[in-house]
Amino acid sequence: MRTEHSRRAKTGLYGLLCLLAIPFVFPTWWMVTSSMKPPGEIFAFPPTLFPADPGLDAYRRVFEFAPFASQYFNSMYIAAAVTVGTLAVSSLAGYAFARIRFPGQNLLFLVVLAGLLIPSEVTIVPLFQLFNGWGMIDTHWPLILVPIFGAPSVLATLIMRQFFIALPIEVEEAGRMDGLGRFALYWRIALPLSRPALGAVGIFSFLYSWNLYLEPVVFLSTPEKFTLPQALTQFVDAYGGPMWDVQLSAATMSALPVLVVFVIAQRQFVEGLAHTGLKG
């Protein structure tokens, strides 16, 4: 479909692309700029593209209204734990399913595959009961354990397996001649070669954890233990109305780290996620 276009057609295409980009870009722009506006200006019409008198007062108030620093830390360390855990579990299993032959392999692979069809939304009631039995309600354990072993990690295992299958076997055979065992082959040869796949799985599992909403809402009740998505919904005044400027400042802070990574490493980000496919 790549054909040469006349100048008029080109102008038309650019116009169309710019128009289409508005609903994708404006909300983020508006979120960041409005968080620096005084409350009155947020509602100004027509909306101002740049704050007339930018200030960070709303940012200060975020930390007054909520234990936002600990909530931020919670989200960070939980997402980091989920990412590291998923990388370890899925690269080990993916490697074994791709490279090692052992009895019952196909059956075990099918059992793991079944995990893809069972999202945690389906099993949330028994999960609550299980974690309740283990005394883990209102702790971060369910938010860490369920993603590391549930549907997202099954997807990660599939990605790792596909990658290892495509990896040339000769490199490992050389290592085998040198007397390396299976774990050494995996750790010292296969893993260093699989950085693109590890990057994709890492971004994908970090985002999955960072956006997780149903699990925190179900499992957590103490504000100090909340993660960011749940915390963002709590900025309401005494009448239950949202405090827009404070809420938008908190939302901006929650989006900032991932957006910065996205801007810096957009190629890896876009192409990595294109290989996984998050939920629709």
Partner: protein, 312 residues
């Protein structure tokens, strides 16, 4: 799901004699140890809970009163008679169909636009993809503000002389709003998948058809769509299953309202289990959700024989 379940390629060369036997045993052991964390975790946090969902669905179980009693198929009879359920299923169908159709067609349209010979398409790819990097709830909160009666969307509409509705307060408009907000958030992912597929279509096919005098629409329908049909199938399975899991956006934007117009099955299940503390009925609704996910996936997987032209 795009994977083949063929035998692993890395078969170790069999070695003769006694050393071969111990070597093979060590290979087996390594294999089991490598998959053990994943298998044990999936069993404990996915398979066992799924079995429990079925078991719980045969019980009357109220967490507040602490009652837990086997009642056979009573929950399923209640499911069949639930006056709210037809509305919930209609909302679920409207949401999922709307989301899948809009997501896939917009993703394909954007991918075709970005596949033109134009400078700067990488910039636009980044812009269309950027919402994926924004925290889900942050994105939804911003849209809740923009969709208010005096919010930015209606401001924009009034600038072109249209008097916009109070989006989140009307039943139809609220449904449209949750679908569009969700599509804008994640359509970039499918767009990138389609773009990669489009770039894999051999140029010669287009050249040959141009000589045959085929117009651009005919070329799109006869060449592009069949050539990228495996990608269309994969993205549609992911998008359909994903659409049935959407919870946060509905909780933040509409809380299932106005009335119950945006109460989809996941939300209804959450309400019954965790707001009305009725775990037995919540489990029954979970079984229903699982059945829907399963049937839709199997049906789509079967359909691939019919209309997926080639598989790579």
């Amino acid at each position: 799901m795009a994977t083949k379940t063929d035998a692993p390629s890395g078969r170790a060369p069999a070695r003769p004699g006694r050393r071969g036997w111990t070597h093979r045993r060590r290979e087996y052991l390594a294999g089991y140890l490598f998959v053990a964390p994943q298998l044990a975790g999936t069993a404990l946090f996915v398979i066992v809970p799924l079995a429990l969902v079925f078991w719980y669905s045969f019980h009357e179980w109220n967490v507040l009163t602490g009652s837990f009693q086997f009642t056979g198929a009573e929950n399923y009879e209640r499911l069949a008679d639930d006056p709210a359920l037809p509305g919930v299923l209609a909302a679920t169908a409207a949401f999922s169909i709307g989301l899948v159709v809009l997501n896939l067609s917009l993703a394909l349209a954007l991918a075709v636009l970005l596949n033109q010979k134009l400078r700067g398409t990488v910039l636009f790819r980044t812009l269309f993809f950027s919402p994926v990097a924004v925290t889900l709830v942050a994105w939804t909160i911003v849209w809740r503000f923009l969709l208010q009666d005096d919010g930015g969307v209606n401001g924009l509409l009034s600038a072109i002389g249209v008097d916009g509705p109070n989006w989140l307060r009307g039943e139809t408009t609220a449904m449209i709003a949750v679908i569009v907000v969700q599509v804008l958030k994640n359509v970039g992912l499918n767009m990138v998948l389609f773009l990669a597929a489009l770039q894999g279509v051999p140029k010669e096919l287009y050249e040959a058809s141009t000589i045959d005098g085929a117009g651009s629409w005919t070329r799109f329908r006869r060449i592009t769509v069949p050539m990228i049909s495996p990608t269309i199938l994969l993205t549609s399975i992911i998008t359909v299953v994903g659409s049935l899991q959407v919870f946060a956006q509905i909780d933040v934007l509409t809380s299932g309202g106005p009335g119950t117009s945006t109460t989809v099955l996941v939300y209804y299940l959450y309400q019954n289990a965790f707001q009305f503390h009725d775990f037995g009925y919540g489990a029954t609704l979970s079984v229903l959700l699982f059945a829907i996910v399963l049937v839709l996936t199997v049906v789509q997987w079967q359909m691939r024989r019919k209309w997926v032209v080639h598989e790579n």
